[in-house]
Symmetry: C2
Subunit: 321 residues, 2 copies
DNA sequence: CGCCTTATACGAAACGTTACATATTGCATG
DNA sequence: CATGCAATATGTAACGTTTCGTATAAGGCG
């Protein structure tokens, strides 16, 4: 910058103004721009960040990125940020609370302007001076949380299964014991079943103790005992739904003729528009963009604490319709 | 840091040393560490970066992240970087040369310590002072390129198809006209066919002009004319392979009984270990880690210009075995 | 006990910006 | 033509680190 100033015969302050688009005398601006191009000058964001405490960077914290749901979130968050001239730091935690905490730590050091996080650590210490938007997890304090309508999705799943003729339905759930918005899927499902006086059961395996494979044993066990009397299953994720479908098929139980299955997420087949199973579709793109919007809303404290985006049902072959 | 120094009754230099793990008198170290914890001191990476020109950040440039191949790359690169105490900036280009160039630009401003890029822009201007490792694209200058053994993969595909009994095989390719390492898939395929005196044909659609859907028209057209005489197809990507399989199935052509198909990448079904099609598997994890290794190798100029990682064939239902 | 050597903490300068107070310019007015 | 005022460029002091030359303390030896 010093070189540019010298080459253009102006002061540093003037160069600074030009680089920031602050109005400056026409002839000066031209000279500075010429000199900058000539010298291939690149502004040093680290010096700027040091001075302004603005870094034009946002951190995205995710458990991983190998799941379509996560990678879609990342994709849309990244695009939304780029559109606003921001860049994205990606942190992958593997769902480990410790790693999650250390991310927040790192993120503070790196002085990003904000964080968007899909975390599981219930005691995550976030500094109140750091804009934070959470996905699928409602923190106590004034951190906004965006999620899809998990409760409504649960109800919708029950409604669909029952309207498609199921007599006894089940909710299969795996995942962490850490409380999150996703819990409401089960709540909605139960309530809808109750209000319809329908027979239902909940089978919940937390994956701290059991791998998803454990569902296989449970199913086989109940089949053997003759207590596998469901004709409709709502699974907490598409991943689980696909797995359950496979197990049932292996056992000679037909899907969807004998048992109908609905998943949650809206995961599509690779290279196709079709869904991997009948499912409750989360509006991932909208969720991601809402996160970014929220992060940039001027007054974070006066912002809605919980943004709940609408879900919809989609047919994917594991239900009759 | 000033506060910490004051609280500990030492100078800034001493605090700096403690924070960087440089040996310092025991009693000083203890006092400084206590004060730092007390004041919840966080080092300011921007100030440090300004001074040292080391940012402990690496940029990963990808076309997008919605494709399993890309997201796996991102996942492993991120993990490898984290393991080394680095963080990752993610840039998504959508395969646009302009965006790719502007990424390099941004990346220079942000003063990352290096770039790993999967780019298509053949005239990408990279500064020679910036460590750059390329995936699947061999630049002229001293930028190392890591890719899987595309040539060998092409030969392997031909070998497999022919050994599984195919009499006339084809290479279906879509993608950019921009030259890249992936071109060698076709070269290897052709050579293996020639050396076996086998009948083969190449159908290449660049997606600047045609969407992948165009393959449907070509296939239908040839079926109608009676010139669809292949019994083995090697597709440049799994994506294309899956598509072609679907088209053939729609036309009543059985896969793999009538036509066997091999793809490229090693994409797995969602939630299963199985591959989406019979395929040549790229060692994505190794590729990603090699990129990071290369980026950190002391003397980038004396580093191999092209690292070629072994591929392997995997059965995925679209071949007889 | 004093001097010299070695080790180690100190202090100031610098990294590349921005922002504010000050100086300069240009222009209109009396 | 001098004066005053507005507009605009200049110069300088930070921002929070690291680094390096200098000063100080500690320890060993004569």
């Amino acid at each position: 910058m010093k070189d540019v100033a010298q080459a253009a015969g102006v002061s540093l302050g003037t160069v600074s103004k030009v680089m920031n688009g602050i109005p400056v005398g026409e002839k000066y601006r031209v000279k500075v721009e010429a000199a900058a191009k000539e010298l291939n000058y690149q502004i040093n964001q680290y010096a700027r960040g040091l001075k302004t405490n603005q870094t034009f960077a946002v951190a995205l914290i995710l458990p991983g990125i190998n799941h379509p749901f996560f990678s879609e979130i990342a994709q849309h968050v990244c695009q939304a940020l780029t559109r606003r001239g921001y860049r994205m730091l990606l942190y992958l935690t593997g769902s480990s609370p410790e790693v999650e905490q250390s991310c927040v730590q790192m993120v503070r050091q790196n002085m990003v302007d904000g964080i968007i996080g899909l975390t599981y650590n219930r005691d995550l210490q976030l500094t109140d001076d750091m804009p934070f938007v959470s996905i699928d997890r409602h923190f106590s304090s004034g951190v906004p949380c965006v999620s899809s309508d998990n409760y409504g999705g649960g109800r919708l799943a029950a409604e669909k299964l029952l309207e498609l003729g199921c007599r006894k339905v089940a909710y299969f759930r795996n995942g962490t014991t850490q409380p999150g918005e996703a819990d409401k899927r089960g709540v909605g499902f139960e309530q809808e079943c109750r209000s319809r006086d329908a027979d239902f059961e909940v089978i919940w395996l937390n994956d701290e103790e059991y791998p998803m494979e454990e569902f296989r044993n449970i199913i086989i066990d109940r089949v053997n005992r003759g207590t596998f009397d469901f004709d409709g299953i709502f699974c907490s994720t598409d991943r689980l739904a696909v797995f359950v479908k496979r197990v049932l098929t292996e056992l000679g139980i037909r899907v969807p003729e004998d048992v109908q299955i609905i998943g949650f997420d809206g995961t599509r087949r690779f290279g196709e528009d079709a869904y991997v199973c009948s499912t409750i579709v989360q509006p991932v793109a909208t969720m991601a963009e809402t996160c970014v919007d929220l992060l940039f809303s001027k007054d974070l404290s006066r912002t809605p604490a919980l943004v709940c985006l609408p879900v919809e049902y989609a047919y994917g072959g594991t239900t009759k319709e």
